[in-house]
Structures are given as structure tokens and as C-alpha cells.
């Protein structure tokens, strides 16, 4: 299955805005690890634009959006 991963802020560095990852039985945690992003570095994970979980099952056509934490003032 090919899954679209949309990247935001510093996650785009060296990766671009979007990556397509080919994987059997993908989960967000496995998909992100395959592109060098660790769960602990992610603040917001959305699946199809809605709040997602790292161990959630991904279906054909689903897309992920990942944001790092922005915390300055």
C-alpha cells in the first residue's frame, strides 16, 4: 500500500512537503520511522485531517499529516 505523508515545519527539511511511503500493513509509527521521524518528535498527528493515533490501522487512501511542537513565545 502506498501512503501519503504530509510534512509540516521543520519535518520538511531534506524531505519536502509530501512523501509517499510504500508499506504492507502500515501504522503511523512505522511510516514515520521509515522516513526518520520519531514519535517523540511529533506534536500533532492527523489521519485524513483528524486526530490520529500512532498505532492506528491505516487504510488504502488514508493520508497522514505530522507537525513538530511549536512552543515559543
Amino acid at each position: 500500500m502506498k501512503v501519503e505523508v504530509r510534512l509540516f515545519a521543520t519535518f520538511r527539511e531534506g524531505r519536502g512537503k509530501k512523501i509517499y511511503v510504500e508499506m504492507d500493513q502500515p501504522t503511523p509509527i512505522k511510516l514515520l520511522e521509515s522516513i526518520g521521524i520519531l514519535e517523540e518528535d511529533v506534536a500533532i498527528l492527523l489521519i485524513n485531517g483528524r486526530d490520529g493515533k500512532f498505532d492506528q490501522e491505516i487504510n488504502d487512501g488514508d493520508y497522514l499529516s505530522v507537525f513538530p511542537p511549536v512552543g515559543g513565545g
Binding site: F8, A9, A43, I44, P68, P69, G71, G73
Partner: protein, 224 residues
């Protein structure tokens, strides 16, 4: 009043609501300085600002109240001096302390809106909890480099729980810093949310986050 003549987007009635409003800005750094300036010029009646810091040279690149003359001086005291010059009609309360579990019950009370201009995620979560207990809307903003985010949190929404993982205290700003232009932009967006909350205007960023990426010129509203 001549001073508010160009506040033409507000009716006289709305302007009176603004003049009778009581808000609290938590943090007097990059965001807080600009937020204070804008809320004072609009004509908010009472503003409390809290920060335990003094100005440092590293603040000069972005904090409006940081000048070569204010280095080493108490941030909220300089904020008070500035606002007295900008709009003496504003009743300003300055609290030189960092918001924490020991003082939050005394400080966060009876405001119409509280504004998050903090740089600590843990303090933000504490503030969200207190605002919920006191039934006060909270306008959140945060910045890091080219990036920023804004959302408005009504009591019970607990939006910050979905924006930050548990036990995290800082974000990517520790690596990439903050330039001069991001604080002013995010502060403006927070101020417009504050005014809409006060005037009960619709289309707040509630359960939504405006995510800003100035590097790629993207402004997105995300359901959160």
C-alpha cells in the same frame, strides 16, 4: 474620543465593551510585548501582564520592549512605562513573577479573556486548567522560527492537550530560535481573536488551529 476615531470597525457600543474589558497577558516576551501594545492602542480598559524575567541582549532581535536601554530591566515594569506613554487610559497591573502552581489561583481570576504569550508548554497546560476552572476563554499562540500557531480555547475544550504531547516543555524553537517577524504576526492574530471573544463575534478559531508557515507562505486552518 479622538484617540479611537480610527477604530471604525467597532460601534460605539462595542467600543464601550472594549473599554470595560479586563484581560490578562501571560508572558511579556516576543508575543506579549506586541499583544500588550495592540490591546492598549485598541482601548482595552484593564490589562494585567505577568512575567518574572528581565530583558537580555538576546531579546533585542524580536521583543518590541527590548531596547539597548532596557537590558537588565524588569520586563513588566518596562511594559507599564511604555503603556503609560501609549495610552494612559489603560489601567495596567504588572506582576513580576513567573506563573506557577503557587501563584496561579491568586492571579488568574475574573478576567474576560486570558492570553497565552508563554514560552513554556507546561505552564500553558497549567494555565489552560486554571482558565477552565475559572470559566475564562484562553487565546493561545506559539512561535518557532518561520512557524506559528493560534487557537482559541473555551472552558472545557482542552485544545492544548491535542497540540502538545504529554511531558513536553519546549518545541522546535529551542533549535531554530525566533526571528523578528513571527512574533508580531502571531500576536496580531491572537489580538484579533481576543477582540472577537470580547465582542462575542463568530468565527473564532475554536477547536481549530491556524497554522502558519512563512517559509512556504502557507496559512492553514486545521480541525483539532
Amino acid at each position: 474620543m479622538e484617540r479611537y476615531k480610527r477604530n471604525g470597525i467597532f460601534t460605539e457600543h462595542e467600543m464601550n465593551i472594549i473599554k470595560n474589558s479586563n484581560v490578562c497577558i501571560v508572558g511579556c516576551g516576543g508575543l506579549g510585548g506586541y499583544i500588550l501594545e495592540m490591546l492598549s492602542r485598541i482601548g482595552i480598559g484593564k490589562i494585567t501582564i505577568i512575567d518574572g524575567d528581565v530583558f537580555e541582549k538576546s531579546n533585542l532581535n524580536r521583543q518590541i520592549l527590548a531596547t539597548t536601554q532596557t537590558i537588565g530591566k524588569i520586563k513588566v515594569k518596562e511594559a507599564g512605562k511604555r503603556i503609560f506613554k501609549v495610552n494612559p487610559n489603560v489601567q495596567i497591573t504588572m506582576i513580576h513573577d513567573f506563573l506557577n502552581e503557587d501563584n496561579i489561583d491568586i492571579i488568574i481570576k475574573k478576567f474576560d479573556v486570558v492570553i497565552d504569550a508563554l514560552d513554556s508548554i507546561k505552564t500553558r497546560i497549567l494555565l489552560q486548567k486554571k482558565c477552565e476552572e475559572e470559566n475564562i476563554p484562553l487565546v493561545h499562540g506559539a512561535i518557532a522560527g518561520w512557524f506559528g500557531q493560534v487557537t482559541t480555547i473555551m472552558p472545557g475544550d482542552r485544545t492544548l492537550d491535542r497540540l502538545y504531547p504529554k511531558d513536553l516543555n519546549k518545541g522546535i524553537e529551542t533549535e531554530i530560535g525566533n526571528p523578528s517577524f513571527t512574533p508580531g504576526l502571531v500576536a496580531s492574530l491572537e489580538v484579533s481573536e481576543v477582540i472577537k471573544v470580547i465582542l462575542k463575534k463568530e468565527e473564532l478559531l475554536r477547536n481549530k488551529m491556524l497554522y502558519i508557515d512563512l517559509l512556504d507562505n502557507e496559512f492553514q486552518v486545521i480541525d483539532i
